[in-house]
Every structure is written in structure tokens, then in C-alpha cells.
């Protein structure tokens, strides 16, 4: 991300501000301003209507001892780890599997990608019905296979609810990572594989010793997208369980919304968002630094 890789400007002067000003005004008003306001409100007791009262670090202290809030980070980390398996890794495997010019493969790639364009709410509602205890597709399949005893109320058990949200997330997003890896696979020169084959490498060897190293950069980017997307995760959790059963699927975003809007504790909710912002920014900055360094030492 070099900042200065451009040709000489075609014009200079303060008048040129007009080209960037509208975008910056919109961005400043609806992104930077509320971000700054959040930092202020986080230090106040505020119900959203009366005047905010200064609270010092009270909201933060409360947030750091709020068991549900802390557990929501455990859940979101589990979710992110699962997305690395069900989305990124599965997407990579499918990209290799669907990488063929034979008839049928283009259609299969299109079908595999299609859930990505649907809204999370449509996906969430659909899967709520697939996982329904009485009439859901999953339990019907199990009964049809003679495994009726395995049928479970998947979304109302703490042990399975989070797992199934992770699986649905995989269903939704594996296609996204598949097309990224697929595009990258197409750029790997064919003669590298031919050389590997001449050296006696089988398909598995080729995957681990040619494909993976060549996709290194793409994998790093995809992991970053999965981690950042995971922390922002809200839609699927809200649609499928909204924290239930017994808080087993509570993630930071769903808990924050409940604190702020259902309990009228705007100040406290905002403090929780500030903690979330700090956590996410720190993790992504450290990750970007580390992956840049890893590349420098590698090449």
C-alpha cells in the first residue's frame, strides 16, 4: 500500500479541493464524526434523551467485568476460527476442485458462489427452517436415512447453536473465497505444475508445494477479510438466534445493540462499541504489519 506511486499531477492548487471535498464531507459526517462522538459518549452516563453526565471510566470498568460481553468475544473468536475452516479453507479446496475447463464446471462455480449475493437475512431465515426440529430439512434427511435418533433441536441447544451458525456462514461465504482463489489459481503458470509432475509430485504434493506457496499473498488477504468480517458479524446472529439459547451465540454486535436500545443505556453501549473498535483496529494493524514482515523475509 505505497502512498506515493503516482505520476506528476496534471493540476495543483487549493481549487482542486472541490473534487475530494464532497466525498470527505459525507465521510466526515457519517463515519468520522460519529466515531469521535462515540469516544465522548463512552465516558458519560446517558439514556439518549437527557443531558449526558460525565462518568469517567465507569462504563469501561463495567464493560470489562460484564461476563456476557466478555463471553461474546469468546464466541466471536470461535466463530472466526470456524470461518477460517468453513469459509477460507473450504473455499480454497473448492477452488482447486472446481478448477477445470470441462463442461459443467463453470455452472458449478456459479452455483457454488450464488449464496454470496443473497442477503444474510434471507439466508438466516432459510436455514432456520432447514434446522427446525419438527419439520426441518436436516432432521427429515436424518429420518429418511434411518438415523431419526440423531435428530436434534439444533438451534435451541447451546452446544450446537453456535456451530450451526458457523456452518451457515460457511454456506454463505465459501463461494466468495472460492472465486478469489480460483482467479489466483488461473494466474499460476502451468509449466510450474509440469515441472513438479516431472519431479514425480502427485496431486497432493502439487497442492502443498506449488499451489499453497503461490497463493500465499491471497491467503493472507482472505484471512484478514475473514477476521475483520467476523468481528463485525451481526446479520446472521441476529436473524438466526439473537444470542439465544442462554447467551450461547451472543457476539459483541448483538450484545451492544441490546444494551443500548433495549436497556436505554446509550453511554454504556457506546463504551462497548469503543472497546470493539480498539480491539478490531489493534488486531488488524498487528496482522497487516506481521504479514508485511513475513513477505519481506520471504522474498
Amino acid at each position: 500500500m505505497a502512498i506515493e506511486d503516482r505520476a506528476a499531477p496534471i493540476s495543483s492548487g487549493a481549487g482542486n479541493l472541490w473534487f475530494a471535498a464532497p466525498a470527505m464531507l459525507l465521510f466526515g459526517t457519517f463515519v468520522l464524526w460519529p466515531l469521535g462522538a462515540s469516544v465522548y459518549y463512552a465516558f458519560t452516563f446517558w439514556d439518549g434523551f437527557s443531558a449526558p453526565r460525565w462518568a469517567g471510566f465507569a462504563n469501561f470498568a463495567r464493560g470489562l467485568t460484564d461476563i456476557t460481553y466478555l463471553m461474546s468475544y469468546v464466541h466471536v473468536v470461535l466463530y472466526i476460527l470456524a470461518t477460517l475452516v468453513f469459509e477460507v479453507s473450504f473455499g480454497l479446496v473448492m477452488a482447486v476442485l472446481l478448477n477445470s475447463d470441462r463442461p459443467g464446471f463453470a455452472l458449478m462455480r456459479g452455483m457454488f458462489f450464488s449464496p454470496v449475493v443473497l442477503s444474510m437475512s434471507a439466508g438466516g431465515v432459510l436455514w432456520t427452517f432447514v434446522l427446525d426440529y419438527r419439520t426441518g430439512l436436516l432432521n427429515s434427511v436424518l429420518k429418511a436415512l434411518g438415523l431419526g435418533d440423531w435428530a436434534q433441536p439444533w438451534m435451541s441447544q447451546p452446544e450446537t447453536a453456535l456451530l450451526f451458525i458457523c456452518l451457515v456462514s460457511g454456506w454463505k461465504y465459501a463461494g466468495f473465497y472460492m472465486v478469489i482463489f480460483f482467479a489466483a489459481l488461473r494466474r499460476i503458470p502451468k509449466n510450474i505444475y509440469e515441472a513438479a509432475r516431472l519431479d514425480g509430485a502427485n496431486a497432493l504434493h502439487q497442492f502443498f508445494h506449488v499451489t499453497l506457496p503461490m497463493l500465499r499473498q491471497n491467503i493472507l488477504v482472505c484471512v484478514l477479510l475473514a477476521v475483520m468480517g467476523g468481528f463485525a458479524g451481526f446479520d446472521l446472529f441476529f436473524t438466526m438466534s439473537n444470542g439465544q439459547p442462554f447467551g450461547a451465540t451472543e457476539v459483541p454486535a448483538t450484545w451492544i445493540i441490546k444494551q443500548a436500545f433495549d436497556q436505554d443505556q446509550i453511554g454504556y453501549g457506546v463504551a462497548l462499541t469503543v472497546i470493539l473498535t480498539v480491539v478490531v483496529s489493534l488486531i488488524s494493524i498487528v496482522y497487516i504489519r506481521l504479514s508485511e514482515r513475513a513477505n519481506v523475509t520471504r522474498y
Binding site: L97, S114, V125, P252
Partner: protein
């Protein structure tokens, strides 16, 4: 077509095809199941979940459309998405043009500020944004979604448009400059036609993002007549959680047109969504 497609398939290729087909079919089946279940009665859905409907109940679709006021939801979504995407892509193109082709005070600082937007998840400002929109008297109007959605998509769109501008040498623009064109004319008549394909990609990328947006839509619009499709669908399935046929019908009405549009525009859609992660 390469010669590889004319050769007969080897057993390994058949195996590859077979495994891929089973996985893809298993993942696509719930969508098909949803569509034909939309035409069944509740009793059929419960008794014979896999079977096709005995009689296709077109009435389900009409009932869902009317009960869920899906027409209103569609109109709201179309209006909000169109306005937000147009605003975002136009402003982002002008800004990317300024950041790559022009020099002005504060250029680097502005660009760096904009990059902050790439790091921050929307839930982080949702609450402060809510009180701000309330004070601006914008809650429950389309603008409560158009302005924040356009603003939140700006960072990524400028970032990607800037990369496109950097990939094209500014020779055309310089030539126009020498011919005496002013900067506005250059942007409009030279640069925009040049980066138009990239703008199209950004339109697709942002359309999908805004169309599917749930968090802001849920918080900033509480008036039923102003809601967008994703929120409307969640509410609908909440009210009618025992009327399976009706919910499936609403799901089918809201997803099938999107899927058809996707299969028609597949190339552009995939280019738009992968722009996020390439290069």
C-alpha cells in the same frame, strides 16, 4: 476452447467432477427446496418435506406479497439502493481522480483519514450514528439509510477506484490539459469514460452491499412503510413463524429475482465482489 476439453476425461477427472457435483448439489439444494416448498400447503411441507407439491399453490405467493407488503419493501429497497450507490460511486470517482491526478493542500491527510474507514466495523458507530440521525431529524426517512450507507461504502470504493486510476497512465488527461481543457472537463470527458468499467464494477459491488444491509436498516428505520427488504423479511418470518408455506413464499419472492439477476450478470458480479481481495 483448449485441446484439454476435447480429450476424453480420465478417471481422476471423473472423480473430481463427481465430488464437486455432490458438494455443489448439497449446498444448492436448500435454495431449490425453499422454492418448491413455497408452492405447497403447510400440511404437505410437514408430511412430505422432499416431495414436489401435489398442486402448485400459486395463492401462497399472492398471499405473501399482500400480507407482507412486499411491493412496498421492494420499492423502498430499490430507491435507497439506487440513491446510495449513485452517490457513493460518483463521489468516490471524483475523489479518486483528485487523489491520483491532482495536487492540493491536505491531499495525503484526507486519503489517510479515508483509509480509517477500511479498519472500522459498522457496529462500532451504529449507536452514535443513531443519536446523530435523530438529532438531524432523518430517522425513518430514506436518507437515514442512503447517507450512512453511501458514506460507509466510500472508503473501500475510493481505495479501489484509486488503484484503477493508478493502473492507467495519465497521458490522455495530460494531452487534454495541453489542449486547454479545465479540470472538470478532463474528469467528465476524459477520465470517466476511461475508468467506466471500474465504475461499473463498483456499482455492482455497492449494490449488493446496500441491498443486503441489515444493521443500519434495523436501527434507523422503525416505520413499517419505510422498511427495506432484509428487515421486512426478518419481521415477516417472526410474525408468521408457524405458517411455513407463507414464509417460504416470501423468501422465494425476495430471493429468486436476485438469483436470476445474478446468473445473468455473473461475470460483473464476481468481478465486483472479488475486487475487494485482489491485488
Amino acid at each position: 476452447m483448449s485441446r484439454a476439453t476435447e480429450r476424453r476425461r480420465s478417471p481422476a477427472e471423473w472423480l473430481q467432477f463427481g465430488i464437486a457435483a455432490v458438494i455443489v448439489a448439497a449446498m444448492f439444494y436448500p435454495a431449490i427446496w425453499m422454492v418448491y416448498s413455497a408452492f405447497k400447503t403447510n400440511r404437505e411441507i410437514f408430511r412430505t418435506p422432499f416431495a414436489l407439491p401435489k398442486e402448485w399453490q400459486w395463492g401462497n405467493l399472492i398471499e405473501a406479497w399482500e400480507v407482507g407488503k412486499l411491493g412496498t419493501l421492494y420499492l423502498n429497497s430499490v430507491f435507497i439502493t439506487t440513491a446510495a450507490v449513485a452517490m457513493c460511486v460518483l463521489l468516490a470517482t471524483a475523489a479518486a481522480f483528485a487523489f491520483t491526478r491532482l495536487e492540493f493542500p491536505g491531499r495525503r491527510l484526507m486519503y489517510r483519514l479515508l483509509l480509517v474507514g477500511l479498519l472500522i466495523p459498522p457496529p462500532s458507530v451504529a449507536i452514535a450514528l443513531f443519536t446523530q440521525l435523530r438529532d438531524m431529524h432523518l430517522l425513518n426517512t430514506p436518507w437515514a439509510l442512503i447517507l450512512p450507507c453511501a458514506a460507509w461504502q466510500l472508503a473501500l470504493t475510493v481505495f479501489l477506484m484509486r488503484a484503477y486510476f493508478n493502473a492507467v497512465r495519465p497521458e490522455m488527461e495530460e494531452a487534454a490539459r495541453l489542449d486547454g481543457a479545465n479540470v472538470w472537463q478532463i474528469l467528465w470527458h476524459v477520465s470517466v469514460p476511461m475508468v467506466w468499467p471500474a465504475m461499473l464494477t463498483m456499482i455492482v459491488l455497492n449494490t449488493i452491499a446496500v441491498w443486503n444491509e441489515l444493521l443500519f436498516a434495523l436501527l434507523f428505520i422503525t416505520d413499517d412503510s419505510q422498511r427495506t427488504l432484509p428487515v421486512g423479511l426478518v419481521r415477516f418470518s417472526g410474525y408468521h413463524s408457524t405458517d411455513y408455506a407463507l414464509v417460504f413464499a416470501a423468501l422465494a419472492i425476495t430471493t429468486v429475482p436476485i438469483l436470476i439477476l445474478y446468473f445473468i450478470l455473473q461475470k460483473q458480479v464476481i468481478a465486483g465482489l472479488t475486487a475487494t481481495a485482489m491485488d
